[in-house]
Symmetry: C2
Subunit: 285 residues, 2 copies
Protein backbone atom coordinates (compact mmCIF):
# COMPACT_ATOMS: atom_id res chain seq x y z
CA UNK A 1 0.00 0.00 0.00
CA UNK A 2 1.33 3.42 -0.89
CA UNK A 3 1.37 6.39 1.45
CA UNK A 4 -1.63 8.69 1.18
CA UNK A 5 -1.51 12.34 2.15
CA UNK A 6 -3.95 11.50 4.95
CA UNK A 7 -1.09 9.57 6.58
CA UNK A 8 0.90 12.77 7.16
CA UNK A 9 -1.14 14.26 10.05
CA UNK A 10 -1.08 10.75 11.55
CA UNK A 11 2.75 10.63 11.45
CA UNK A 12 2.72 13.78 13.60
CA UNK A 13 0.24 12.29 16.05
CA UNK A 14 2.44 9.21 16.36
CA UNK A 15 5.63 11.26 16.77
CA UNK A 16 3.95 13.39 19.44
CA UNK A 17 2.68 10.36 21.33
CA UNK A 18 5.99 8.46 21.20
CA UNK A 19 8.13 11.48 22.07
CA UNK A 20 5.96 12.30 25.08
CA UNK A 21 6.32 8.72 26.30
CA UNK A 22 10.10 9.01 25.91
CA UNK A 23 10.60 12.40 27.59
CA UNK A 24 8.66 14.89 29.69
CA UNK A 25 10.45 17.94 28.29
CA UNK A 26 8.08 19.55 25.78
CA UNK A 27 10.94 21.49 24.15
CA UNK A 28 12.52 18.17 23.16
CA UNK A 29 9.16 16.91 21.93
CA UNK A 30 8.88 20.07 19.81
CA UNK A 31 12.33 19.34 18.35
CA UNK A 32 11.04 15.90 17.32
CA UNK A 33 8.06 17.50 15.56
CA UNK A 34 10.33 20.07 13.88
CA UNK A 35 12.43 17.25 12.42
CA UNK A 36 9.37 15.27 11.35
CA UNK A 37 8.20 18.50 9.69
CA UNK A 38 11.38 18.66 7.64
CA UNK A 39 10.99 14.98 6.74
CA UNK A 40 7.62 15.50 5.01
CA UNK A 41 9.02 16.82 1.72
CA UNK A 42 11.34 13.80 1.52
CA UNK A 43 8.60 11.15 1.80
CA UNK A 44 8.30 9.18 -1.45
CA UNK A 45 4.55 8.85 -1.85
CA UNK A 46 4.92 5.46 -3.50
CA UNK A 47 6.56 4.06 -0.37
CA UNK A 48 4.41 2.31 2.23
CA UNK A 49 3.41 4.11 5.47
CA UNK A 50 5.62 1.87 7.68
CA UNK A 51 8.69 2.99 5.71
CA UNK A 52 8.01 6.56 6.78
CA UNK A 53 6.93 5.32 10.20
CA UNK A 54 10.40 3.86 10.60
CA UNK A 55 11.97 7.25 9.86
CA UNK A 56 9.57 9.03 12.23
CA UNK A 57 10.43 6.71 15.12
CA UNK A 58 14.12 6.96 14.25
CA UNK A 59 13.80 10.73 14.77
CA UNK A 60 12.03 10.11 18.09
CA UNK A 61 14.88 7.84 19.22
CA UNK A 62 17.64 10.16 18.04
CA UNK A 63 16.22 13.39 19.44
CA UNK A 64 15.03 11.98 22.78
CA UNK A 65 17.98 9.63 23.23
CA UNK A 66 15.55 6.90 24.32
CA UNK A 67 16.10 3.74 22.29
CA UNK A 68 12.92 1.92 23.24
CA UNK A 69 10.30 4.37 24.57
CA UNK A 70 7.60 1.69 24.58
CA UNK A 71 9.58 -0.83 26.68
CA UNK A 72 7.46 -0.44 29.83
CA UNK A 73 4.18 -0.27 27.90
CA UNK A 74 5.10 -3.44 26.02
CA UNK A 75 5.79 -5.35 29.23
CA UNK A 76 2.53 -4.10 30.68
CA UNK A 77 0.61 -5.18 27.59
CA UNK A 78 2.08 -8.68 27.80
CA UNK A 79 1.24 -8.85 31.50
CA UNK A 80 -2.36 -7.75 30.86
CA UNK A 81 -2.74 -10.28 28.07
CA UNK A 82 -1.44 -13.10 30.32
CA UNK A 83 -3.94 -12.00 32.93
CA UNK A 84 -6.74 -12.69 30.42
CA UNK A 85 -5.17 -15.92 29.15
CA UNK A 86 -7.02 -18.43 31.40
CA UNK A 87 -10.44 -17.01 30.46
CA UNK A 88 -9.51 -17.02 26.77
CA UNK A 89 -8.36 -20.64 27.00
CA UNK A 90 -11.69 -21.44 28.63
CA UNK A 91 -13.49 -19.67 25.78
CA UNK A 92 -11.67 -21.87 23.28
CA UNK A 93 -12.47 -25.09 25.18
CA UNK A 94 -16.20 -24.41 24.88
CA UNK A 95 -16.11 -22.98 21.36
CA UNK A 96 -18.03 -24.70 18.54
CA UNK A 97 -15.11 -24.13 16.16
CA UNK A 98 -12.04 -23.50 18.34
CA UNK A 99 -9.83 -22.54 15.36
CA UNK A 100 -12.34 -19.93 14.19
CA UNK A 101 -12.61 -18.52 17.72
CA UNK A 102 -8.82 -18.48 18.01
CA UNK A 103 -8.57 -16.55 14.72
CA UNK A 104 -11.02 -13.96 16.03
CA UNK A 105 -9.16 -13.77 19.35
CA UNK A 106 -5.89 -13.22 17.49
CA UNK A 107 -7.53 -10.30 15.69
CA UNK A 108 -8.98 -9.04 18.97
CA UNK A 109 -5.45 -8.95 20.42
CA UNK A 110 -4.58 -6.55 17.61
CA UNK A 111 -6.43 -3.78 19.52
CA UNK A 112 -3.20 -3.48 21.55
CA UNK A 113 -1.62 -0.75 19.46
CA UNK A 114 0.06 2.39 20.69
CA UNK A 115 0.60 3.73 17.16
CA UNK A 116 -2.91 3.67 15.73
CA UNK A 117 -5.04 3.10 18.81
CA UNK A 118 -3.38 4.44 21.98
CA UNK A 119 -6.63 4.64 23.97
CA UNK A 120 -7.50 0.94 23.73
CA UNK A 121 -9.39 -0.75 26.58
CA UNK A 122 -8.26 -4.35 26.36
CA UNK A 123 -11.12 -6.34 27.87
CA UNK A 124 -13.95 -4.16 26.55
CA UNK A 125 -12.41 -4.04 23.06
CA UNK A 126 -11.94 -7.80 22.96
CA UNK A 127 -15.54 -8.51 23.92
CA UNK A 128 -16.69 -6.01 21.32
CA UNK A 129 -14.62 -7.67 18.59
CA UNK A 130 -15.71 -11.20 19.50
CA UNK A 131 -19.31 -10.09 18.88
CA UNK A 132 -18.49 -8.48 15.53
CA UNK A 133 -18.97 -10.05 12.12
CA UNK A 134 -15.90 -10.24 9.89
CA UNK A 135 -16.11 -7.54 7.19
CA UNK A 136 -13.99 -9.72 4.91
CA UNK A 137 -14.22 -13.42 5.70
CA UNK A 138 -11.74 -15.72 4.00
CA UNK A 139 -11.63 -17.98 7.03
CA UNK A 140 -12.52 -21.06 5.00
CA UNK A 141 -9.63 -20.40 2.60
CA UNK A 142 -7.32 -20.14 5.60
CA UNK A 143 -8.60 -23.48 6.95
CA UNK A 144 -8.00 -25.13 3.56
CA UNK A 145 -4.50 -23.67 3.20
CA UNK A 146 -3.56 -24.67 6.73
CA UNK A 147 -4.86 -28.18 6.05
CA UNK A 148 -2.39 -28.81 3.23
CA UNK A 149 0.46 -26.57 4.43
CA UNK A 150 3.85 -28.04 5.19
CA UNK A 151 5.44 -24.76 6.20
CA UNK A 152 3.51 -22.09 8.10
CA UNK A 153 4.96 -18.61 8.65
CA UNK A 154 3.32 -16.28 11.16
CA UNK A 155 4.19 -12.55 11.07
CA UNK A 156 3.83 -11.00 14.52
CA UNK A 157 2.61 -7.48 15.16
CA UNK A 158 2.40 -5.93 18.64
CA UNK A 159 3.70 -7.02 22.03
CA UNK A 160 0.77 -8.30 24.11
CA UNK A 161 -1.06 -9.33 20.95
CA UNK A 162 1.65 -11.99 20.92
CA UNK A 163 -0.08 -13.81 23.81
CA UNK A 164 -3.23 -14.04 21.66
CA UNK A 165 -1.09 -15.35 18.79
CA UNK A 166 0.03 -18.14 21.13
CA UNK A 167 -3.60 -19.25 21.44
CA UNK A 168 -4.04 -19.32 17.67
CA UNK A 169 -0.79 -21.22 17.07
CA UNK A 170 -1.89 -23.66 19.75
CA UNK A 171 -5.24 -24.11 17.97
CA UNK A 172 -3.48 -24.64 14.62
CA UNK A 173 -1.60 -27.47 16.35
CA UNK A 174 1.17 -27.63 13.76
CA UNK A 175 4.80 -26.40 13.58
CA UNK A 176 4.84 -22.66 12.99
CA UNK A 177 7.66 -20.19 12.38
CA UNK A 178 6.94 -16.97 14.27
CA UNK A 179 8.63 -13.85 12.84
CA UNK A 180 9.26 -10.74 14.94
CA UNK A 181 10.96 -7.36 14.35
CA UNK A 182 14.72 -7.15 14.49
CA UNK A 183 14.81 -4.11 16.81
CA UNK A 184 12.33 -2.20 18.98
CA UNK A 185 9.92 -0.07 16.91
CA UNK A 186 6.80 1.38 18.54
CA UNK A 187 5.24 -1.48 20.52
CA UNK A 188 5.94 -4.10 17.86
CA UNK A 189 7.04 -7.47 19.16
CA UNK A 190 10.73 -8.35 19.23
CA UNK A 191 12.25 -11.71 20.15
CA UNK A 192 12.28 -10.70 23.83
CA UNK A 193 8.53 -9.96 23.75
CA UNK A 194 7.78 -13.21 21.92
CA UNK A 195 9.65 -15.18 24.57
CA UNK A 196 7.86 -13.29 27.36
CA UNK A 197 4.63 -14.33 25.65
CA UNK A 198 5.62 -17.98 25.62
CA UNK A 199 5.93 -18.27 21.85
CA UNK A 200 9.23 -20.11 22.22
CA UNK A 201 7.32 -23.01 23.77
CA UNK A 202 5.09 -23.60 20.75
CA UNK A 203 6.89 -22.14 17.73
CA UNK A 204 10.26 -21.35 16.26
CA UNK A 205 10.91 -17.63 16.77
CA UNK A 206 12.86 -15.86 14.02
CA UNK A 207 13.63 -12.23 13.33
CA UNK A 208 12.49 -10.67 10.06
CA UNK A 209 15.70 -8.66 10.06
CA UNK A 210 13.60 -5.55 9.47
CA UNK A 211 13.33 -2.50 11.77
CA UNK A 212 10.15 -1.04 10.26
CA UNK A 213 6.71 -1.38 11.88
CA UNK A 214 5.86 -3.78 9.05
CA UNK A 215 7.68 -6.20 6.77
CA UNK A 216 9.81 -4.42 4.16
CA UNK A 217 11.19 -7.32 2.17
CA UNK A 218 14.08 -5.21 0.87
CA UNK A 219 15.30 -4.87 4.44
CA UNK A 220 14.62 -8.41 5.60
CA UNK A 221 17.37 -10.93 6.28
CA UNK A 222 18.15 -13.66 3.79
CA UNK A 223 17.13 -16.34 6.27
CA UNK A 224 13.74 -14.68 6.79
CA UNK A 225 13.25 -14.37 3.02
CA UNK A 226 13.85 -18.11 2.71
CA UNK A 227 10.99 -18.74 5.17
CA UNK A 228 8.85 -16.17 3.34
CA UNK A 229 9.40 -17.78 -0.09
CA UNK A 230 9.02 -21.38 1.15
CA UNK A 231 5.88 -20.95 3.27
CA UNK A 232 2.69 -22.60 2.04
CA UNK A 233 0.67 -20.13 4.07
CA UNK A 234 1.72 -16.86 5.71
CA UNK A 235 -0.45 -15.53 8.51
CA UNK A 236 0.12 -11.77 8.67
CA UNK A 237 -1.03 -9.82 11.72
CA UNK A 238 -1.98 -6.16 11.82
CA UNK A 239 -1.98 -3.12 9.57
CA UNK A 240 1.79 -2.62 9.29
CA UNK A 241 2.47 -6.04 7.78
CA UNK A 242 -0.53 -5.63 5.49
CA UNK A 243 0.56 -2.17 4.31
CA UNK A 244 4.04 -3.42 3.43
CA UNK A 245 3.10 -6.76 1.84
CA UNK A 246 -0.14 -5.99 0.00
CA UNK A 247 1.50 -6.21 -3.43
CA UNK A 248 3.37 -9.46 -2.81
CA UNK A 249 2.31 -12.52 -4.74
CA UNK A 250 2.52 -14.96 -1.88
CA UNK A 251 -0.22 -16.98 -0.13
CA UNK A 252 -0.81 -14.48 2.67
CA UNK A 253 -3.78 -14.43 5.02
CA UNK A 254 -4.11 -11.02 6.71
CA UNK A 255 -5.70 -10.92 10.15
CA UNK A 256 -6.32 -7.40 11.34
CA UNK A 257 -8.50 -4.80 12.90
CA UNK A 258 -8.74 -1.79 10.61
CA UNK A 259 -7.75 1.29 12.64
CA UNK A 260 -6.80 3.75 9.93
CA UNK A 261 -9.25 5.44 7.52
CA UNK A 262 -6.62 5.04 4.80
CA UNK A 263 -6.32 1.27 5.27
CA UNK A 264 -10.13 1.10 5.46
CA UNK A 265 -10.41 2.80 2.06
CA UNK A 266 -7.75 0.54 0.61
CA UNK A 267 -9.52 -2.61 1.80
CA UNK A 268 -12.96 -1.16 1.04
CA UNK A 269 -14.27 -1.74 4.55
CA UNK A 270 -15.27 0.59 7.37
CA UNK A 271 -12.86 1.86 10.01
CA UNK A 272 -13.02 -0.51 12.96
CA UNK A 273 -13.77 -3.52 10.74
CA UNK A 274 -12.19 -6.89 11.51
CA UNK A 275 -10.80 -8.75 8.56
CA UNK A 276 -9.58 -12.21 7.55
CA UNK A 277 -8.38 -11.56 4.01
CA UNK A 278 -6.54 -14.11 1.95
CA UNK A 279 -3.97 -12.35 -0.23
CA UNK A 280 -4.52 -8.77 -1.32
CA UNK A 281 -2.76 -9.41 -4.61
CA UNK A 282 -5.44 -10.75 -6.94
CA UNK A 283 -2.85 -12.64 -8.99
CA UNK A 284 -2.00 -14.74 -5.99
CA UNK A 285 -5.55 -15.94 -5.36
CA UNK B 1 -4.15 30.84 24.55
CA UNK B 2 -0.75 29.57 23.54
CA UNK B 3 -0.11 26.89 20.94
CA UNK B 4 0.22 23.36 22.30
CA UNK B 5 2.16 20.64 20.51
CA UNK B 6 -1.17 18.84 20.06
CA UNK B 7 -2.12 21.64 17.66
CA UNK B 8 0.56 20.59 15.17
CA UNK B 9 -1.06 17.41 13.78
CA UNK B 10 -4.27 19.47 13.56
CA UNK B 11 -2.58 22.12 11.39
CA UNK B 12 -1.74 19.34 8.92
CA UNK B 13 -5.31 18.05 8.94
CA UNK B 14 -6.55 21.56 8.24
CA UNK B 15 -4.00 22.16 5.49
CA UNK B 16 -4.91 18.83 3.87
CA UNK B 17 -8.63 19.55 4.01
CA UNK B 18 -8.32 23.11 2.66
CA UNK B 19 -5.85 22.20 -0.09
CA UNK B 20 -8.06 19.37 -1.31
CA UNK B 21 -11.02 21.73 -1.48
CA UNK B 22 -8.89 24.17 -3.50
CA UNK B 23 -7.40 21.71 -6.01
CA UNK B 24 -7.83 18.12 -7.11
CA UNK B 25 -4.16 17.59 -7.94
CA UNK B 26 -2.65 15.60 -5.06
CA UNK B 27 0.89 16.61 -6.06
CA UNK B 28 -0.05 20.24 -5.35
CA UNK B 29 -1.68 19.20 -2.07
CA UNK B 30 1.57 17.42 -1.16
CA UNK B 31 3.49 20.63 -1.90
CA UNK B 32 1.21 22.41 0.59
CA UNK B 33 1.99 19.81 3.27
CA UNK B 34 5.74 20.02 2.48
CA UNK B 35 5.64 23.76 3.12
CA UNK B 36 3.58 23.38 6.29
CA UNK B 37 6.19 20.81 7.35
CA UNK B 38 8.94 23.40 6.97
CA UNK B 39 6.82 25.92 8.89
CA UNK B 40 6.69 23.79 12.07
CA UNK B 41 10.14 24.70 13.38
CA UNK B 42 9.27 28.40 12.98
CA UNK B 43 6.11 28.35 15.11
CA UNK B 44 6.58 30.39 18.29
CA UNK B 45 4.89 28.24 20.90
CA UNK B 46 3.76 31.28 22.83
CA UNK B 47 1.72 32.50 19.87
CA UNK B 48 -1.96 31.55 19.65
CA UNK B 49 -3.10 28.74 17.30
CA UNK B 50 -4.93 31.13 14.93
CA UNK B 51 -1.64 32.96 14.28
CA UNK B 52 -0.17 29.75 12.91
CA UNK B 53 -3.51 28.93 11.29
CA UNK B 54 -3.17 32.17 9.33
CA UNK B 55 0.26 31.07 8.04
CA UNK B 56 -1.03 27.59 7.19
CA UNK B 57 -3.91 28.97 5.13
CA UNK B 58 -1.57 31.49 3.50
CA UNK B 59 0.51 28.53 2.29
CA UNK B 60 -2.67 26.87 0.99
CA UNK B 61 -3.59 30.02 -0.95
CA UNK B 62 -0.09 30.60 -2.32
CA UNK B 63 0.61 27.04 -3.40
CA UNK B 64 -2.84 26.28 -4.85
CA UNK B 65 -3.37 29.76 -6.31
CA UNK B 66 -6.91 29.72 -4.95
CA UNK B 67 -7.59 32.83 -2.91
CA UNK B 68 -10.80 31.69 -1.25
CA UNK B 69 -11.11 27.87 -1.35
CA UNK B 70 -14.13 27.91 0.95
CA UNK B 71 -16.18 30.38 -1.14
CA UNK B 72 -18.72 27.81 -2.38
CA UNK B 73 -18.94 26.05 1.00
CA UNK B 74 -19.54 29.37 2.74
CA UNK B 75 -22.40 30.26 0.40
CA UNK B 76 -23.88 26.80 0.89
CA UNK B 77 -23.64 27.13 4.68
CA UNK B 78 -25.46 30.46 4.59
CA UNK B 79 -28.13 28.98 2.31
CA UNK B 80 -28.63 26.01 4.64
CA UNK B 81 -28.85 28.27 7.66
CA UNK B 82 -31.49 30.45 5.95
CA UNK B 83 -33.40 27.29 5.15
CA UNK B 84 -33.64 26.61 8.90
CA UNK B 85 -34.36 30.23 9.79
CA UNK B 86 -38.21 30.10 9.86
CA UNK B 87 -38.22 27.12 12.23
CA UNK B 88 -35.63 28.77 14.48
CA UNK B 89 -37.72 31.98 14.57
CA UNK B 90 -40.70 29.85 15.53
CA UNK B 91 -38.63 28.22 18.30
CA UNK B 92 -37.82 31.66 19.70
CA UNK B 93 -41.46 32.80 19.58
CA UNK B 94 -42.52 29.94 21.85
CA UNK B 95 -39.42 30.01 24.09
CA UNK B 96 -39.80 30.71 27.82
CA UNK B 97 -36.70 32.92 27.74
CA UNK B 98 -36.17 33.91 24.08
CA UNK B 99 -32.80 35.55 24.80
CA UNK B 100 -31.47 32.41 26.45
CA UNK B 101 -32.71 30.26 23.59
CA UNK B 102 -31.16 32.68 21.08
CA UNK B 103 -27.82 32.44 22.92
CA UNK B 104 -27.94 28.65 22.69
CA UNK B 105 -28.94 28.82 19.03
CA UNK B 106 -26.01 31.16 18.35
CA UNK B 107 -23.71 28.55 19.90
CA UNK B 108 -25.45 25.80 17.94
CA UNK B 109 -24.67 27.69 14.74
CA UNK B 110 -21.01 27.40 15.69
CA UNK B 111 -21.10 23.72 14.60
CA UNK B 112 -20.64 25.08 11.06
CA UNK B 113 -16.89 24.84 10.97
CA UNK B 114 -14.75 23.46 8.20
CA UNK B 115 -11.53 23.88 10.20
CA UNK B 116 -12.30 21.99 13.39
CA UNK B 117 -15.45 20.11 12.47
CA UNK B 118 -15.65 19.40 8.72
CA UNK B 119 -18.14 16.54 9.08
CA UNK B 120 -20.89 18.56 10.77
CA UNK B 121 -24.54 17.66 10.19
CA UNK B 122 -26.33 20.97 10.64
CA UNK B 123 -29.85 20.01 11.72
CA UNK B 124 -28.86 16.99 13.85
CA UNK B 125 -26.03 18.92 15.54
CA UNK B 126 -28.30 21.85 16.35
CA UNK B 127 -30.96 19.66 17.95
CA UNK B 128 -28.25 17.89 19.94
CA UNK B 129 -26.83 21.19 21.21
CA UNK B 130 -30.23 22.63 22.12
CA UNK B 131 -30.74 19.66 24.43
CA UNK B 132 -27.32 20.03 26.06
CA UNK B 133 -26.59 21.76 29.35
CA UNK B 134 -24.01 24.55 29.26
CA UNK B 135 -20.70 23.30 30.70
CA UNK B 136 -19.89 26.86 31.76
CA UNK B 137 -22.95 29.03 32.28
CA UNK B 138 -22.37 32.76 32.71
CA UNK B 139 -25.64 33.55 30.95
CA UNK B 140 -26.91 35.68 33.84
CA UNK B 141 -23.74 37.81 33.76
CA UNK B 142 -24.30 38.32 30.04
CA UNK B 143 -27.91 39.39 30.67
CA UNK B 144 -26.77 41.89 33.32
CA UNK B 145 -24.00 43.31 31.14
CA UNK B 146 -26.33 43.64 28.17
CA UNK B 147 -28.87 45.40 30.40
CA UNK B 148 -26.52 48.25 31.22
CA UNK B 149 -24.45 48.27 28.01
CA UNK B 150 -24.37 51.33 25.83
CA UNK B 151 -22.04 49.84 23.24
CA UNK B 152 -22.24 46.19 22.23
CA UNK B 153 -19.56 44.60 20.04
CA UNK B 154 -20.22 41.18 18.50
CA UNK B 155 -17.27 39.22 17.04
CA UNK B 156 -18.41 36.94 14.24
CA UNK B 157 -16.97 33.52 13.54
CA UNK B 158 -18.07 31.35 10.60
CA UNK B 159 -20.23 32.02 7.54
CA UNK B 160 -23.61 30.35 8.06
CA UNK B 161 -23.28 30.72 11.82
CA UNK B 162 -23.84 34.39 10.93
CA UNK B 163 -27.52 33.67 10.26
CA UNK B 164 -27.82 32.34 13.82
CA UNK B 165 -26.06 35.47 15.07
CA UNK B 166 -28.80 37.48 13.38
CA UNK B 167 -31.37 35.75 15.60
CA UNK B 168 -29.40 36.56 18.74
CA UNK B 169 -28.86 40.20 17.77
CA UNK B 170 -32.56 40.40 17.03
CA UNK B 171 -33.33 38.98 20.50
CA UNK B 172 -30.91 41.46 22.13
CA UNK B 173 -33.00 44.18 20.46
CA UNK B 174 -30.34 46.88 20.82
CA UNK B 175 -27.79 48.50 18.47
CA UNK B 176 -24.91 46.09 17.89
CA UNK B 177 -21.62 46.45 16.01
CA UNK B 178 -20.88 43.21 14.16
CA UNK B 179 -17.19 42.60 13.41
CA UNK B 180 -16.06 40.27 10.62
CA UNK B 181 -12.68 39.22 9.15
CA UNK B 182 -10.92 41.57 6.75
CA UNK B 183 -10.21 38.89 4.11
CA UNK B 184 -11.32 35.30 3.43
CA UNK B 185 -9.76 32.81 5.86
CA UNK B 186 -11.14 29.26 6.10
CA UNK B 187 -14.93 29.65 6.29
CA UNK B 188 -14.81 32.65 8.60
CA UNK B 189 -17.35 35.35 7.86
CA UNK B 190 -16.32 38.40 5.84
CA UNK B 191 -18.45 41.48 5.15
CA UNK B 192 -19.90 39.78 2.06
CA UNK B 193 -21.04 36.80 4.17
CA UNK B 194 -22.50 39.05 6.86
CA UNK B 195 -24.54 40.91 4.26
CA UNK B 196 -25.71 37.62 2.69
CA UNK B 197 -26.86 36.66 6.20
CA UNK B 198 -28.86 39.86 6.61
CA UNK B 199 -26.67 41.31 9.37
CA UNK B 200 -26.65 44.69 7.60
CA UNK B 201 -30.39 44.98 8.35
CA UNK B 202 -30.00 44.74 12.11
CA UNK B 203 -26.43 45.78 12.94
CA UNK B 204 -23.52 47.89 11.85
CA UNK B 205 -21.03 45.62 10.07
CA UNK B 206 -17.35 46.48 10.54
CA UNK B 207 -14.14 44.67 9.63
CA UNK B 208 -11.68 43.75 12.37
CA UNK B 209 -8.90 44.49 9.94
CA UNK B 210 -7.39 41.11 10.78
CA UNK B 211 -6.82 38.19 8.40
CA UNK B 212 -6.37 35.47 11.04
CA UNK B 213 -9.09 32.97 11.95
CA UNK B 214 -9.44 34.84 15.24
CA UNK B 215 -8.91 38.38 16.52
CA UNK B 216 -5.20 39.29 16.77
CA UNK B 217 -5.38 42.77 18.23
CA UNK B 218 -1.90 43.61 16.91
CA UNK B 219 -3.21 43.18 13.40
CA UNK B 220 -6.58 44.85 13.87
CA UNK B 221 -7.44 48.22 12.40
CA UNK B 222 -7.46 51.34 14.55
CA UNK B 223 -11.17 51.82 13.99
CA UNK B 224 -11.88 48.27 15.18
CA UNK B 225 -9.67 48.77 18.24
CA UNK B 226 -11.75 51.83 19.11
CA UNK B 227 -14.89 49.69 19.10
CA UNK B 228 -13.06 47.00 21.10
CA UNK B 229 -11.89 49.44 23.78
CA UNK B 230 -15.19 51.32 24.02
CA UNK B 231 -17.56 48.34 24.17
CA UNK B 232 -19.39 47.68 27.45
CA UNK B 233 -19.83 44.07 26.46
CA UNK B 234 -18.12 42.05 23.72
CA UNK B 235 -19.84 38.89 22.53
CA UNK B 236 -17.16 36.63 21.08
CA UNK B 237 -18.16 33.67 18.93
CA UNK B 238 -16.17 30.48 18.44
CA UNK B 239 -12.81 28.99 19.32
CA UNK B 240 -10.61 31.25 17.16
CA UNK B 241 -11.72 34.48 18.81
CA UNK B 242 -11.44 32.84 22.23
CA UNK B 243 -7.93 31.51 21.54
CA UNK B 244 -6.69 34.94 20.48
CA UNK B 245 -8.43 37.07 23.14
CA UNK B 246 -8.28 34.89 26.25
CA UNK B 247 -5.65 37.11 27.93
CA UNK B 248 -7.38 40.42 27.21
CA UNK B 249 -8.78 42.38 30.12
CA UNK B 250 -12.02 43.39 28.48
CA UNK B 251 -15.63 42.45 29.34
CA UNK B 252 -15.87 39.57 26.89
CA UNK B 253 -18.54 36.89 26.85
CA UNK B 254 -17.40 33.85 24.89
CA UNK B 255 -20.07 31.76 23.18
CA UNK B 256 -18.67 28.58 21.70
CA UNK B 257 -18.82 24.90 21.11
CA UNK B 258 -15.55 23.29 22.19
CA UNK B 259 -14.25 21.27 19.24
CA UNK B 260 -10.58 20.93 20.08
CA UNK B 261 -9.10 18.81 22.91
CA UNK B 262 -6.59 21.60 23.52
CA UNK B 263 -9.27 24.26 23.98
CA UNK B 264 -11.20 21.79 26.16
CA UNK B 265 -8.19 21.38 28.44
CA UNK B 266 -7.64 25.12 28.57
CA UNK B 267 -11.26 25.79 29.55
CA UNK B 268 -11.40 22.70 31.79
CA UNK B 269 -14.43 21.26 30.05
CA UNK B 270 -14.98 18.19 27.89
CA UNK B 271 -14.60 18.18 24.12
CA UNK B 272 -18.01 18.90 22.62
CA UNK B 273 -19.05 21.09 25.55
CA UNK B 274 -21.06 24.25 24.93
CA UNK B 275 -19.95 27.29 26.82
CA UNK B 276 -21.14 30.78 27.81
CA UNK B 277 -18.08 32.12 29.61
CA UNK B 278 -17.77 35.70 30.75
CA UNK B 279 -14.15 36.82 30.40
CA UNK B 280 -11.32 34.32 30.63
CA UNK B 281 -9.04 36.86 32.25
CA UNK B 282 -9.83 36.68 35.95
CA UNK B 283 -8.65 40.27 36.45
CA UNK B 284 -11.43 41.49 34.22
CA UNK B 285 -14.23 39.84 36.18
Amino acid sequence: MKTYLDCIPCFFNQALFAARIAVENEAIVKEVLDKVGRLISKIPMDSSPPETGMEVYRIVREVTGVKDPFRALKSESIRKAWHLYPSLEEMLKTAKDPLETAVKLAIAGNVIDFAANPDFQLEENIQEIMQKQLAINDYQVLVDKLGSAKQILYLADNAGETVFDRLLIDAIGRPVTYAVRENPIINDATEEDAIASGLDEISEIVSSGCDAPGTLLGQCSESFLNYFQAADIIISKGQGNCETLSNEKRPICYLLKVKSPVVARDLRVNEGAIVVKYSLSKDAL
